[in-house]
Symmetry: C3
Subunit: 269 residues, 3 copies
């Protein structure tokens, strides 16, 4: 499968040098999610699994903001009128976006500037690596709109990123996590000024693109797969996963390059 000519209907999508970049649209409303963009995100991440020309996904910002979450008029308005069957359809669809991101087999770098709240904060959380600017405002604000903090995986996933106690406080208050907190707590892997965001993300993305794609695919897979395993299961699973990677050409290429004191050129197989 090849997505180089994929035309996204409900967000920006482009590909360059092994990197697929997605960013939401609607800059005047700080890039809200809609029913349509949720569904297309789910579908695109499901397709990315099979795209050999995509090695990294960048989930980027647009016009100074990442994402303002579910649109109040387009999403919250209809939701308050839905019956339980319709609500479950919706919450399962949004959950499927997170599942499809975590199962897409390619590392995802969230590139976060400005507003990153509600379902937007979840998209950042569901990424593998988060680079933010010092203008980033991340809030898991579900309780501000009368809901629970357990949205799209937050009560289970956020504690593994920043610790159980910090996650609890953010989810009970819905407050903005400051940039300093986000960096100190490990939510953001790195914080830079807005003008350095793209360059920082690009360098990291290219570094991963130049790495062993099959190995990285397996790293992505196992980071999720081992989530709730026992230590014994973790170690047996990795024995199998790494044995697969040891039969790749990339492992041989790295060895041969080392012998002649050169840098390996990986081919992803």
């Amino acid at each position: 499968m090849n997505m180089v000519n994929y035309k996204a209907k409900h967000f920006n999508f482009n590909m360059s040098e092994g990197v697929a970049t997605i960013s939401l649209t609607g800059a005047d409303q700080k890039n809200p999610l809609t029913f349509e963009s949720y569904a297309e995100l789910r579908d695109v991440f499901r397709d990315i699994v099979y795209c050999d020309d995509i090695h990294v996904v960048v989930f980027g910002s647009n016009a100074g903001n990442f994402c303002s979450g579910g649109n109040v008029n387009d999403i919250i308005g209809p939701l308050v009128k839905m019956n339980m069957k319709e609500l479950l359809n919706f919450t399962r669809m949004t959950g499927d976006v997170v599942k499809s991101m975590i199962n897409c087999k390619k590392p995802i770098i969230a590139s976060i500037d400005g507003i990153c709240v509600g379902a937007g904060a979840i998209l950042a959380m569901a990424s593998d690596i988060r680079i933010a600017t010092n203008k980033a405002k991340t809030a898991f604000l579900f309780n501000k709109v009368g809901l629970a903090g357990c949205d799209m995986g937050a009560c289970g996933i956020l504690p593994r990123l920043i610790g159980q106690g910090r996650a609890a406080e953010l989810l009970y208050t819905g407050r903005i996590m400051t940039v300093d907190e986000g960096e100190a707590w490990g939510f953001y892997n790195k914080v830079v000024s807005p003008e350095l965001l793209d360059e920082t993300v690009n360098i990291l993305a290219q570094q991963i693109v130049n790495g062993p794609a099959l190995g990285n695919m397996m790293t992505k897979t196992m980071l999720a797969q081992e989530w709730s395993m026992s230590i014994e299961q973790i170690i047996e699973s990795e024995a199998q996963a790494q044995a697969i990677c040891m039969q790749t050409g990339d492992f041989k290429r790295a060895y041969e390059a080392f012998i002649i004191k050169q840098k390996p050129k990986f081919e992803g197989n």
Copy 2:
């Protein structure tokens, strides 16, 4: 069920504006636990589940200390004479205090001044949010009294708060965690001076009381429920839990308030 007139026998208990405040007694011994206070704590937290007039529990300090753990004369003395059946009865009862705190469906804020050691450190650990003073002395000192670090859930829960390596060191040495460590590691959500402790805790408690009670109940539930789930299970569980919350009046109230640019007034249903 209504606990506004509940008279606690073995600790301080009072209610005000949706907040139940508990603090241990015995200030001359820095508020030790006794067989009786353990049992009553277990029972009270089991009752709190059903109390619609309690939205937050504050587990507070008393006369400058939080809790000195199991009383040496009243608890450790009898324990060294017990047979295995009696010991299991005891360790299961103390474990039931932690279970009842985690299952009480209301956020618990520990307000920690001074000594917070042994089973006292566990009560802090089993709370959702911890606000401490710069005089707080928290120690999981079980190995100092010849026991294992695995007391009332510490080997499983503490690592999720501060990381596996830091938890291991504290549990193998029994040493005091410094205030700076506690804050940097995420054990304490916030550290303030002793004179600001009550005010800081009250502001946070009122903020949560003013939030959506049903949503917060679900957050509390799912933070524990998702502990050992796979990511797939986490996301499906949250799809169901949040769909329930989307049928509450509070979700509708938040939407309607937003439309008229006002702050929502939540009613907890």
Copy 3:
């Protein structure tokens, strides 16, 4: 079983005052692992389980370095020629080293100076406590050699030490974790200058040796055992484990020493 006269064939091993100290050899290559040293490490840690004269294991550095990982000529060369059956034998053997360390029933302190990369970083990760020098260079560099980050448990264990996001970044890039990162993130429990490393580790090791050996054995056991349990299971498991410890002489000794205001002298039973 007694290991005081154990002569290790493929690494340094010595015992003194309840502490077994292991360090790898091959200082000119910064102490690489070999097929033989992997296998002997696995066997030694399996034997340590039954050695009453070992209360703590120190996994130390040698000539300014901890371990450079699998030897390129001795290990990676042969691996690239192996079939799947042979590869699985290898990855399971290396995984068994981690399993045997985690299951050895004695706290392990890694004493890390200089290079600590690849499988060396895993040996550090599989230890309970990590003391490092400001010269330590830890890298989970598997993707630099064309492999996945999921080696010997890294995708499951590293996130519990430093957080899921930080672990992901290290595993996707293979880069060196700086000393400051390692300390701030909780990978290192403490960082000291090289000349203070031995003394710092020895003081900590002796402190643990002087603690209750049976209690510490149970702490080690439960830190791993509770890894993927639910909170309810964690608490019941600890009720059983601690009840066992409450029937030890060391618990009684601690109580009796307290009564006469002395320090207890533990005997490990």
